[in-house]
């Protein structure tokens, strides 16, 4: 029944022309800012000295217990530290790397990747690989579902949001490597049920299967369907007997393969730069730490944007200034002038948010209880199951920020009134 009632929404596909253009490399930037935060969100101490020359992949900062590190994404000179208000990390210290030089890639020898699950997890943790789907540390995500029975692991290259085509660009460029990374992730979680999810028309899907027939079993590819948010559970009968689905990003799979085979720490990502203000929408390979303003300058601005958004249109964060670095987990950057939002109105009770919610929640009721300060009753409505996909706000004809309210309820976890203090303190 939930298939009939809560099956997501249709959103327009705005991926062209970026999706059909080849991936370009951004020219070496003058300076980059590397947040001193490891993949699991731990703040790290700078270990390299100021004015030291550092090589790509070298450690520049470590956590207090020395278990997590921050690696330099480029070769250059460590010029100093700078505090940045980052939309993902908040106030964070960044290492400033200047005099960046392009160093020819050494021919690296692929090492044996017959690894055990523990070894794969250790590599993923040590190299700080971050899953671009949700910004989580890949090792933690895989470890969390390691012991699940009947687990299906999917490398999600569906690019379910409207503008992003970075996953498709990665699959187009290095599909066999992504598959090898996915196999390693499958070893880490003890499952043979691994799939590579894409979102293509029937013809393009079968030609993709045919193209990689030599290296990848055609049955490994699955098509995600056309609805947002992507939900693979209903795509195949197979999933009926495999209730747990774990989705990881294709860029994370590629990074896992490179880390296992070549010992490389992830140093760059592919970002889709798009929006009505971007002169040349395209997928760009950028080193981590590249400033958003450099990325926008590289793609060109046809007109001055009103909104610059890190992430895609459904879940992205609008930023106020562009002097912030690209960090792992960012796969899309938008510069938008015309942002459609119906004028805000009281909830009219059309129920479209409930129909759109793929988690089967009642977004309007959560919002109503939050507005009416009925916090003690919020718990029953399971706001913690919201993944913030934005479908409810997208369909709201009253122009309300439903998703924002539901996320507020989710993040409060029933503790909205905890910090009121006692009568003595007043």
């Amino acid at each position: 029944m939930s298939k009939l009632t809560n099956s997501g929404i249709f959103i327009p596909s705005l991926k062209q022309p970026a999706a059909s253009r080849p991936v370009t490399d951004i020219p070496t930037p003058e300076r980059i800012l590397v947040p001193l935060v490891s993949g699991d969100g731990t703040f790290c101490r700078l270990t390299a000295r100021i004015d030291d020359t550092i090589n790509k992949g070298g450690i520049i900062a470590s956590s207090d217990d020395n278990s997590m590190h921050v690696y330099s994404p480029v070769s250059g000179v460590l010029a100093g530290r700078q505090a940045v208000l980052h939309p993902i990390y908040g106030n964070v210290a960044c290492a400033v790397i200047e005099n960046i030089r392009e160093k020819g890639e050494d021919e690296k020898k692929e090492s044996d990747i017959n690894l055990s699950g523990d070894e794969v997890l250790e590599i993923a943790r040590e190299k700080g690989i971050v899953d671009e789907l949700d910004g989580q540390l890949l090792a933690e995500k895989l470890a969390a579902c390691r012991n699940s029975e009947n687990l299906i692991l999917i490398a999600d290259g569906s690019d379910s949001e409207p503008y992003s085509s970075s996953s498709w660009a990665v699959i187009n460029e290095s599909c066999p490597e992504v598959y090898r990374g996915l196999k390693l992730a499958g070893i880490a979680v003890n499952t043979n049920n691994i799939y590579l999810g894409v979102r293509l028309g029937k013809k393009a899907f079968s030609s993709l299967q045919h193209k990689y027939m030599q290296e990848i079993e055609p049955s490994v590819f699955i098509n995600a369907g056309k609805k947002y948010p992507v939900n693979y559970k209903f795509e195949k009968d197979l999933f009926k007997s495999h209730p747990t689905v774990c989705r990881i990003g294709v860029q994370a799979c590629l990074a896992l393969y490179r880390a296992a085979a070549f010992g490389e720490a992830p140093s760059s990502c592919i970002v889709t730069v798009a929006g009505d203000c971007v002169a040349n929408p395209q997928n760009v390979r950028v080193p981590f730490g590249t400033l958003v303003e450099d990325l926008l300058r590289f793609c060109g601005l046809a007109q001055n944007p009103e909104y610059v958004i890190i992430g895609d249109a459904m879940t992205g964060i609008a930023i106020q200034n562009t002097e912030i670095p690209v960090v792992p987990g960012i796969s899309c950057l938008l510069a938008i002038k015309n942002r459609v939002q119906p004028p805000a109105h009281a909830c009219i009770g059309c129920g479209r948010c409930a129909r759109a919610c793929h988690a089967g929640l009642l977004p309007y009721e959560i919002m109503r209880r939050l507005d009416n300060m009925q916090y003690e009753r919020l718990d029953y409505l399971l706001p913690e199951e919201c993944d913030g996909c934005g479908a409810c706000s997208h369909v709201c004809p009253a122009g309300l920020d439903v998703t924002y309210k539901v996320l507020e309820a989710r993040d409060a976890q029933g503790n909205i009134f905890v910090k009121w203090g006692t009568g003595d303190e007043l």
């Binding site: 009632t5 959103i11 327009p12 409207p162 001055n304 944007p305 009103e306 909104y307 610059v308 958004i309 992430g311 249109a313 459904m314 879940t315 992205g316 964060i317 609008a318 930023i319 106020q320 200034n321 562009t322 938008l334 938008i336 942002r339 459609v340 939002q341 119906p342 004028p343 109105h345 009281a346 909830c347 009219i348 009770g349 059309c350 129920g351 948010c353 409930a354 129909r355 089967g360 009642l362 309007y364 009721e365 718990d379 029953y380 399971l382 913690e384 199951e385 913030g388 934005g390 706000s393 997208h394 369909v395 709201c396 004809p397 009253a398 122009g399 920020d401 998703t403 924002y404």
Partner: protein
């Protein structure tokens, strides 16, 4: 350079509440035009009187409450047009105006205005004029007279019994199924044209302005009750046909029950709401004082909307909630 900030998502559908109201007004327009074919321009003026007065009253209400006028969303126009569509073509012009005044000043504005009313303002306005002026409300002209009604303030004309009043008094109905479907029966301006009502419902369904999960269970319940407890001689099918076509039962299922503000949002709650509305509408018909009491039933079922909505969802998610509370 500083850019604007806003909450995600940054891509929205361009649907507006005003578009939904415009769809409802478009669906209501053919009903008064159809009535104009039988009775002349008077029914159109009555609908316009209701619509314009409701918009005017809402503007006054917003000014009195020092709020930004919400008339542009179209909800007041829909309320007024519905009230105007359910009065008799013989009604004086002040009758829909009085209904609109009650709907806006007594039901809609005191609860906070557009989007916040618990009860359907149109149903409340209709209930008020039904209770206060039943003599005007249930006095219907004969569609077979073939002459347009005068446009003067009051019309002195003998009324003929409507199918609903024949049902209320028991016995045989005078109207054939063809007459019922084509709307050649006495009744409210917008309540008799069954074929056009069905076309309007299909239009609104396609535009997603109404939900089949309310209308279909409602009509099914009415049909089942009409077949179990027939009030006319002529068999089950005849009873169902007359009950569904008489009065404004069908109009109520399309326009009054589907008011998004007062109806449940969850699919199970909507089905339960439709069923309960059907039962209450038939009860008011069987045991009520008036030949048609659907507006009272709508008000009653509005009171249960939030509860049905909530419990519908709880019933489906009991296991999830229990697991959550255990953890």
């Amino acid at each position: 350079m500083s850019y604007k900030t806003a909450h995600a998502p940054h891509l929205r559908r361009s649907d507006r509440f005003s578009f939904m109201c415009a769809d409802v007004l478009i669906a209501l327009a053919p009903l008064s035009i159809f009535s104009a074919v039988y009775y002349g321009f008077r029914p159109v003026l009555l609908v316009l009187a209701g619509l314009v007065s409701a918009v005017l009253f809402e503007t006054i209400g917003c000014l009195l409450m020092r709020r930004k006028p919400t008339v542009t969303d179209g909800s007041a126009a829909v309320t007024g047009a519905i009230i105007g569509s359910l009065v008799s073509p013989l009604s004086p012009y002040w009758l829909p105006v009085a209904g609109s005044a009650f709907a806006i000043f007594a039901v809609k504005m005191p609860m906070g205005g557009s989007g916040r009313n618990v009860f359907n303002p149109a149903a409340a306005g209709l209930s008020a004029i039904t209770l206060c002026f039943p003599g005007f409300f249930f006095k219907y002209p004969d569609p077979g007279i073939g002459l347009p009604l005068p446009l003067s303030k009051t019309v002195n004309m003998a009324s003929v019994p409507s199918p609903a009043s024949q049902l209320a008094s028991g016995g045989q109905t005078l109207y054939s199924p063809t007459m019922l479907l084509l709307g050649e029966i006495p009744g409210p301006i917008g309540g008799t044209a069954i074929t056009i009502l069905i076309a309007s419902a299909l239009f609104l369904l396609v535009r997603r302005a109404i939900s089949p999960l309310i209308t279909l269970p409602y009509l099914a319940t009415c049909a089942v009750l009409a077949s179990i407890f027939p009030r006319v001689t002529g068999g089950t099918a005849g009873s169902v046909m007359v009950e569904l076509c008489a009065g404004y039962l069908l109009f109520c299922g399309i326009f009054l029950l589907n008011d998004p503000v007062t109806a449940p949002r969850h699919w199970l709650g909507r089905i339960a709401y439709g069923v309960l509305a059907g039962v209450l509408v038939m009860l008011t018909r069987y045991f009520g004082r008036f030949e048609e009491g659907a507006c009272f039933a709508v008000l009653l079922v509005n009171a249960f909307a939030t509860t049905l909505d909530r419990f519908g969802w709880y019933a489906l998610n009991l296991r999830r909630i229990r697991n959550r509370r255990r953890s």
